[in-house]
Amino acid sequence: MLKKKICMVGEFGVGKTSLVRRFVDSIFDERYLTTIGVKIDRKDVTVGSESVTLMLWDLAGEDDLAQLNVSHLRGASGYILVADGCRAASLAKAVELQQRIEGQLGSLPFVLVLNKADLRDRWEVKDTAVSERGWPTFETSAKAGSGVEEMFQALTKKLLQ
């Protein structure tokens, strides 16, 4: 079966691991557990008539102590930039990461994900700040499950085009 590597990138604590867990295992855990290094999961999906194995590389969130190791995206077919709608700084970080990745690996398909849609009333991220980029954007809630399946499906579809 066709294999595609997809990387999850973003600031720490935005919910990358939770999005993967929701997508792969349909589980959400309230506890925050920092990812160290890389966490690799796989999931078979079918888009239209085509089946594909997604290799999901969940990369440790960038923080003051450690930078994202862009070489971990080698061989990736696409990536998911994750930001936390409640933290405007996490969107700025996502924008910075996108520039770094594109600078080092060239243009790759990606989507922007604003996670924690269940806390929409506490969001700091302004719609205009997102729409002005013109990036394919999804609002998700790893906790409630909303938007997660659609987001992965949409990116996979894009990768198969």
Binding site: K5, F12, G13, Y32, L33, T34, T35, I36, G37, V38, K39, I40, D41, M55, A60, G61, D63, D64, L65, A66, N69, S71, H72, R74, G75, R87, A89
Partner: protein
């Protein structure tokens, strides 16, 4: 190899066909099959490992990042040597240790962000509250000031004093809360100006000792001879600390005395102490009295009042001054609050103190545009300026201010910052684009952003409500030049008749006032028409302009505009001088 295998590593060697062959026993966690397939992570590590094997430099090994798959954590290690050796480590203990450390850092960081957001929200709330309170306080305290300038009998004066004192106290409470939130938000900046320490102590004793003396307490101060008294620092904040401490000392002392002492300490700091002979502070509360909203005994809140912020604010100020604050006390015998602060010593001749003469407007009869949506505040400003002979055009929002400004020239614009339709900042920006007229912004916001915003919009000065009369007049004096004489150049052949023409117009002012009083618009229109047709011919364009407005307003029956124009005319005629 055997040793590495014994340590739990899965040991692989690169074979001639480029595949990795297990060179030892297989640990139970090792998946079956080629390792590139068993560990997808290797696809990003092996290119680095290849480079390393070719050119290891001084390194003996190259470690990969940790990765997780199937609930286990691994690390790959390329080992330098004759053979290309790759170790796979099941790195649970290392993972656990790293995760504990990073998790802690992330949780602290997230909590810090959360606290910063809450503090920001609190500061915004306090700023908003202080604005809401300061706006009516401006009107209340201003009216008291104006009322005290009117004839009053002794009883009324006594009531007014109580009113004023209560208002000042209320303002102090608001200022305390505001100061505290400013300190918390890192908004306090200390001044660095020359001051006389003896004078600051004297003023603090004078003001802070009023209540103490009325309670029958003895109040004294002593500055040790080796203490330099001409200093550079923030006298206002130093006075505030001393007043806070004296206020507390007075509150908790019923008999005996209060003493302020200033000495030099060994570290080059000044050591202040405020002692009392009051009820004292229990030993277990000595350290916590400097915490915010804290009092030595919760029951004292009811008995003695106060916000519990005074000492917390003093502590922050002292720290900003490079010192520390602490307390010593014996219950029943009294307390001493000590603090230290660092000041630079002033050099050169002493500056002369400014005298507190009543402030009056230097320039008489100004044309002022006042924009404020509060009727009470407009009334107050009118009251402050009533003796100056100035003409004040009032509008209620920024948009009206911009429109009005386009209609005529003004000497100064007084602009409230927060108004409906268009706020004062936007209006200031638009007026500034039209000319250099001084614009004084009046706001109830005491945060430094408000001040920066005023200047950024093009404001000339920023005053924080409640505004005292003297403050307003000083601000206007600072920016409005003394121009109470209008010099007009008249052609030589007209000079013999110009004096008579002006005299006639001065007579018209009285006629116009009387006509307005009895609603005789015909007379006003006729006089306006005459002025409009003649002023410019004699070299007095403003008379033509005012005449035109008078004629037009009389036709419309616009009494307010007629009244303003008569005042304009009077003002012009009083000021005009022939060259």
């Amino acid at each position: 190899m055997n040793l590495l295998a014994a340590l739990g590593y899965a040991v692989f060697e690169r074979a001639a066909d480029s595949s990795f062959q297990l060179a030892g026993p297989a640990p139970d966690w090792l998946p079956a099959g080629p390792i590139e397939e068993a560990f997808p992570f290797l696809e990003v590590f092996l290119p680095d490992a290849e480079e390393f094997w070719v050119n290891p430099g001084n390194r003996k090994s190259l470690y990969s990042d940790l990765w997780a798959q199937n609930e286990l954590h691994f690390c790959a290690i390329a080992v330098a040597g004759d053979k290309k050796v790759l170790l796979i480590e099941c790195a649970e203990p290392r993972f656990q240790q790293t995760q504990n450390f990073v998790q802690y850092a992330h949780e602290v960081s997230l909590a810090r962000d959360q606290i910063a957001k809450l503090t920001q929200a609190k500061s915004e709330f306090l700023a908003r509250m202080s604005h809401e309170i300061r706006t009516p306080m401006n009107a209340l305290l201003g009216m008291v000031e104006l009322l005290s300038e009117t004839p009053l009998n002794d009883e009324q004066r006594q009531y007014l004093r109580v009113f004023q004192r209560a208002g000042d106290n209320l303002l102090n409470v608001i200022n305390d809360i505001l100061d505290f939130s400013k300190v918390e938000a890192g908004q306090i900046e200390l001044e660095n100006i020359e001051f006389d320490l003896a004078q600051v102590i004297e003023e603090a004793i004078e003001i802070g000792g009023v209540r103490a003396r009325s309670k029958g307490l003895e109040v004294s101060s002593r500055i040790q001879p080796d203490v330099p008294t001409r200093l550079i620092g923030d006298p206002g904040r130093l006075r505030q600390i001393l007043l806070n401490l004296l206020g507390n000392a007075t509150k908790f002392t019923d008999h005996g005395k209060l003493t302020v002492l200033v000495e030099s300490d060994k570290q080059g700091l000044l050591h202040f102490s405020v002692s009392d002979t009051g009820i004292g502070i229990p030993a277990d509360r000595l350290a916590t009295i400097f915490e915010s909203f804290s009092q030595a005994d919760v029951s004292t809140t009811r008995k003695y009042g106060g916000t519990g912020l005074g000492l917390a604010i003093s502590k922050r100020f002292v720290e900003l001054m490079g010192g520390r604050i602490w307390a010593e006390s014996t219950v029943g015998a009294g307390s001493t609050i000590h603090f230290t602060a660092r000041f630079a010593v002033a050099e050169g001749p002493a500056q002369k103190p400014t005298e507190n003469a009543p402030v009056v407007l230097n320039a008489r009869a100004l044309r002022i545009l006042l924009a404020d949506d509060s009727e009470e505040n407009r009334f107050l400003i009118r009251g402050y300026l009533k003796d100056s002979g100035s003409i004040i055009d009032e509008v209620e929002n920024g948009a009206q201010a911009v429109e009005q400004f386009k209609q005529r020239a003004y000497d100064v614009v007084l602009m409230d910052a927060e108004m409906p339709v268009m706020d004062g900042y936007s209006a200031t920006r638009q007026i500034r684009a039209l000319g250099a007229t001084p614009i004084v912004l009046l706001t109830a916001h005491a945060f430094k952003e408000a001040k920066a915003r005023s200047y950024e919009a093009g404001g000339t000065e920023h005053l924080t409500k409640p505004i005292k009369k003297a403050t307003l007049l000083e601000a206007i004096n600072k920016f409005v030049p003394i121009n109470d004489r209008i010099q007009v150049s008249v052609e030589e052949w007209l000079k013999p008749v110009v004096g008579g023409y002006l005299e006639k117009r001065r007579g018209d002012v009285q006629t116009l006032r009387e006509a307005l009083d009895c609603g005789d618009f015909d007379t006003i229109r006729t006089l306006g028409h005459q002025m409009s047709g003649t002023g410019g011919g004699y070299g007095f364009e403003p008379i033509t302009e005012i005449g035109g407005v008078l004629e037009e307003s009389a036709l419309a029956g616009d009494t307010a505009r007629i009244r303003a124009s008569i005042e304009d005319l009077d003002r012009f005629l009083s000021a005009v001088r022939l060259e």
